[in-house]
Assembly symmetry: C2
Homo-oligomer: 130 residues x 2
Amino acid sequence: MSIPLPGKPVRGSKTGKPIMALLDLLGRTWALGIIWHLSQGPATFRELQQRCEKISPTLLNTRLKELKALQLIASQDQGYMLTEQGLSLFKIICPLGEWSKQWALAVYPNTNLLELESDQSIHPCIAPCA
Amino acid sequence: MSIPLPGKPVRGSKTGKPIMALLDLLGRTWALGIIWHLSQGPATFRELQQRCEKISPTLLNTRLKELKALQLIASQDQGYMLTEQGLSLFKIICPLGEWSKQWALAVYPNTNLLELESDQSIHPCIAPCA
DNA sequence: CCACTTGCTACTAAAACTGTAGCGGAGTAC
DNA sequence: GTACTCCGCTACAGTTTTAGTAGCAAGTGG
């Protein structure tokens, strides 16, 4: 799948409006998940594989290349990590963690959130969102 | 593809943590796009097809069913529209519109944003985010 | 009845994703 | 050297999802 560059046509829009490129990117399997898991801190390839439980290395590598090309993540000594850009994006979607809990309650009134508590992602840099 | 119910295992997580169900849902092709376009106001099936430029009716219908089952959208006289839940989700992701513009500039320093301006989504109910 | 629109299904082809195996390189240990 | 381990990553076959087009059944208006 080609990288959804803002300014070029993407899946779902011929115009290449930035928001469409972004929605294309984020709408790809695991893209959001990778950002989410990386927000916990830098990770090596294999560690990221573990955080994502079931991602295949093929796909992980594909997504990593895309995210890197679009400057949301970067790789260095400690492995992969969010860039400034990536972090600022994460700050926007971070509230989804809390939102999803109240959503779960609405969809399934007797969800036991205590059981499901521990997956919240807390980036060291942005405690206030936790 | 089965509907990612919070509380049940989903793509990418056996635990069914709400955030994982949500990321699964939003990571499906067009899910974010549909929410985004619906934020412009209610739309009939065919109108939604047009807003989404290139979505196939098969997939549109599949996504609509999922989003409806998860209470993010509802259908009534005027067609499909965001529910309260859906709107509150949109409020979170709404800043992506602005974010994507500065991102486009970072990725492509000479993007002409004036050309790409008009796709911002402005729901009547939430002017402040525009 | 006919013409026209709407929501949606059917079907095939193309593309994306999964799952497993394993390569080549780097480090460390003998 | 060679044997071990771990790492990032690729190859490839099989499955699932998505795209793209055609068109049906139901409703509306003449």
